[in-house]
């Protein structure tokens, strides 16, 4: 009895350390961008992160945890020898913790998720042989590691392109923002609601059919749309932008330029009289255009971008909340899945069906994340926030939206993915849409490196820890 008590304490301690580590290092991904763009102050970012990380971990964290706990390796084969599973999971946790410590000492870019998956697979392959590993599940997890950054990059690219075409490239950005924000809110809340309620909501025992889920998320989106309309009505557009006399508004000039372009096209395909007439017309139009251009004041209107940025600072707060929520849901599993496996095995022995992750354990992981955030994470958020000046609120919003949606979807499907890589993919997506001044493509190499190094290294560490534990305690 004493022996299991010691193991429980060890595994809880290491699990807490892992949760602390996630809070200290990875939460900054969710909040660093918002602090960097000035949408949130550090204090508010930390409070928001704490609330949403915990909610994500507690309410939505169970599916990834149960995947990690019982679907990576064939746990039923430990039925005769539950001690091996207990030692193995302890070893995996310890090994991951040690490997993360070594990696951060050498400044290697590693992902907690990859490390823990590698560790569990490592001890599984050792004790059960190659056949004991659920290669199908590993395959889908590995493909999700490739697909998730691509998907988040694609979504972010799309969102930022839409914002570009409809707001940044508009001749009246402030009006365009007012028009677009309620629609954006509809989609943001709609898609998040949908990705949250399909497949059942985490801890709550409610299940919706697809039409029901669609209807519900549409209703939620519509609510957000209505609130957005009310808020937007309050935004006052500074008067300077309305000063230009109506006959000289810039887009009339643009229309004229388009007309000239089309006329030119007609001219190239025409001959004789038509050709001459069009040439005459073109000349006249050129004169009108020149006069108009001289009278049009483009310079006055460029201040409108300030208003756009201000509006999107609020949008970015919303997307940052979703990132924190999704991050909590996905990453809490890294810390508590092995703990859950050990405790479950100690209490009930090995069972074929995946036991539900106890809710107190999810809360325990959530608390660990918050403690990590409060003791160390805020410092990392501050450092990253200072370094990132490239992400203005429009760009930050696009990147966070893409990342959050991808992470949330993966969490719902029970796939442990790296939130850092999703965010990197999203930022690259915004950069591809001509959004960011300079991106360091070497980071892509870092990511590839993190794959190659982390999996075997943490697998090896976990095996070593397994043998040490076994020799000490048995």
């Amino acid at each position: 009895m004493e022996f299991t008590l010691i193991l429980t304490i060890i595994v809880l301690l290491v699990g807490f350390y892992m949760a602390w580590n996630i809070g200290a290092n990875d939460v900054s991904n969710a909040m660093g961008t918002s602090v960097g763009s000035g949408a949130l102050t550090l204090k508010r970012a930390v409070i928001i992160a704490a609330v949403f990380e915990f909610s994500g971990a507690y309410f939505l964290g169970s599916s990834v945890s149960s995947t990690m706990q019982s679907e990576l390796i064939d746990v039923t084969r430990f039925a005769a020898d539950p001690d091996t599973l207990i030692f193995g999971m302890c070893g995996a946790l310890l090994g991951t913790g040690i490997w993360l410590q070594i990696a951060s000492y050498f400044g290697l870019p590693v992902s907690t998720t990859h490390a823990i998956v590698g560790a569990i697979v490592g001890f599984g392959a050792l004790t059960l042989g190659i056949t004991g590993v659920e290669w199908g599940m590993i395959g889908s997890i590995a493909s999700s590691w490739i697909l998730s950054p691509i998907m988040s990059g694609f979504i972010s690219y799309l969102i930022f392109s839409i914002l570009q075409r409809n707001i940044l490239f508009a001749l009246n950005p402030a009006h365009a923002t007012k028009r677009l924000i309620p629609i954006l809110l509809f989609f943001v809340f709609g898609t998040f609601a949908l990705s949250m309620i399909f497949n059942g909501i985490g801890r709550f025992n409610v299940n919706f059919t697809l039409p029901q889920a669609l209807l519900l998320s549409t209703v939620i989106g519509a609510l957000a749309f209505a609130v957005g309309l009310l808020v937007v009505r309050r935004i006052k557009i500074p008067k300077t932008s309305l000063e230009t006399p109506s006959r000289l508004i810039p887009f009339k000039l643009i229309s004229l330029e388009k007309a000239i372009k089309h006329l030119r096209r007609v001219r190239t395909g025409s001959i004789d009289e038509t050709h001459n007439k069009i040439t005459e017309l073109l000349e006249q139009m050129h004169n009108i255009k020149r006069d108009m251009r001289q009278k049009t004041r483009f310079s006055k209107r460029t201040t409108e971008y300030d208003l756009v940025e201000k509006a999107f600072a609020s949008m970015q707060i919303i997307s940052a909340c979703f990132v924190a929520l999704a991050h909590g849901a996905n990453d809490v599993a890294n810390a508590i899945a092995p703990v859950a496996a050990v405790i479950d095995t100690i209490q009930n022995g090995v069972s074929a069906s995946a036991a539900a992750v106890p809710s107190w354990l999810l809360a325990f992981g959530g608390v660990g994340i918050i403690v990590g955030l409060a003791t160390w994470g805020w410092r990392v958020i501050m450092t990253i926030g200072r370094k990132i000046t490239e992400l203005t609120p429009t760009r930050g919003f696009s990147a966070e939206f893409g990342a959050a949606l991808t992470i949330l979807l993966a969490s719902k499907l029970g796939l442990p993915i790296s939130t850092t890589h999703c965010l990197v993919g999203a930022v690259l997506g915004v950069g591809l849409a001509r959004g960011i001044r300079a991106l360091n493509l070497r980071t892509l190499k870092d990511i590839a490196l993190s794959w190659v190094i982390t999996l075997p290294a943490s697998a090896l560490m976990s095996v070593i820890c397994y043998f040490i534990l076994k020799s000490i305690l048995v």
């Binding site: 251009r293 049009t296 990197v424 950069g431 001509r434 959004g435 360091n440 980071t443 870092d446």
Partner: protein, 222 residues
């Protein structure tokens, strides 16, 4: 664990603007040189200063090129950026050339051409200041991803710059005509010296206008 922070490379646009500032110092020196054409000693000193400034601009240019590794991804085409930088630097080169040509020997019969020359110089340097203003707009252009109302504004500015360059060339023609009319009374060395000075000043306006038009090429206007 700072993967996200490491993702952001060092932006080359702020250094581009500070390079422009150095180039503008060269042009400012050049203005002073034209103000003191009749005091040879002061002129020589100013030309030495100008050479020094041009060298500093060169160093900045090389710095920018060095800190722009292949693994950096930017919102405008890499080759476009380098072209803009090269053109900007050639403005400093041209200023130095003008200064050096002026320091070779005093301009013969300066009083005769003084008024036209100064008017021409003023027009050319104005073209440069216009171009500098366009480079200063790059911050705003980045904000709007090189499109929309800000791009329209820059487009207007470029058109104005081109118009000013055209006016400067007219001024050059006037000056050249006068030079050829007086050609008989000048020694061939003096004539050629004058010709070279005028040509080089004209190039200053041309390069400035070319730079302005390069910026226009990266705009996303419909």
């Amino acid at each position: 664990m700072m993967t996200i922070a490491r993702l952001f490379g060092k932006s080359p646009f702020a250094p581009l603007q500070s390079h422009m500032k150095k180039v503008s110092l060269c042009v400012e020196k050049l203005t002073k040189i034209f103000d003191s054409l009749e005091e040879n000693e002061k002129l020589q000193r100013l030309v030495t200063d100008l050479s020094q400034l041009e060298h500093e601009a060169d160093l900045t240019k090389n710095d920018i090129r060095n800190q722009l590794p292949k693994s950096i991804f930017m919102p405008i085409d890499r080759s476009h950026f380098l072209e803009i930088l090269a053109l900007q630097d050639s403005i400093a080169d041209v200023s130095e050339d003008i200064g050096l040509t002026l320091s070779l020997r005093p301009l013969v019969n300066y009083e005769l051409f003084a008024k036209d020359l100064q008017a021409f110089v003023k027009k050319c340097i104005e073209v440069f200041w216009d171009t500098k203003r366009i480079i200063e707009e790059i911050d705003e252009l980045l904000e709007s991803s090189f499109g929309g109302i800000e791009a329209e504004k820059v487009k207007t500015m470029v058109e104005e710059t081109a118009y000013k360059e055209h006016k400067a060339q007219k001024e050059k023609l006037k000056l050249l005509k006068k030079l050829y009319n007086e050609g008989e009374s000048l020694s061939s060395a003096a004539f050629y010296h004058w010709l070279r000075v005028i040509e080089e000043i004209g190039i200053l306006a041309q390069v400035s206008e070319k730079l302005a038009n390069r910026i226009r090429m990266v705009l996303e206007t419909k």
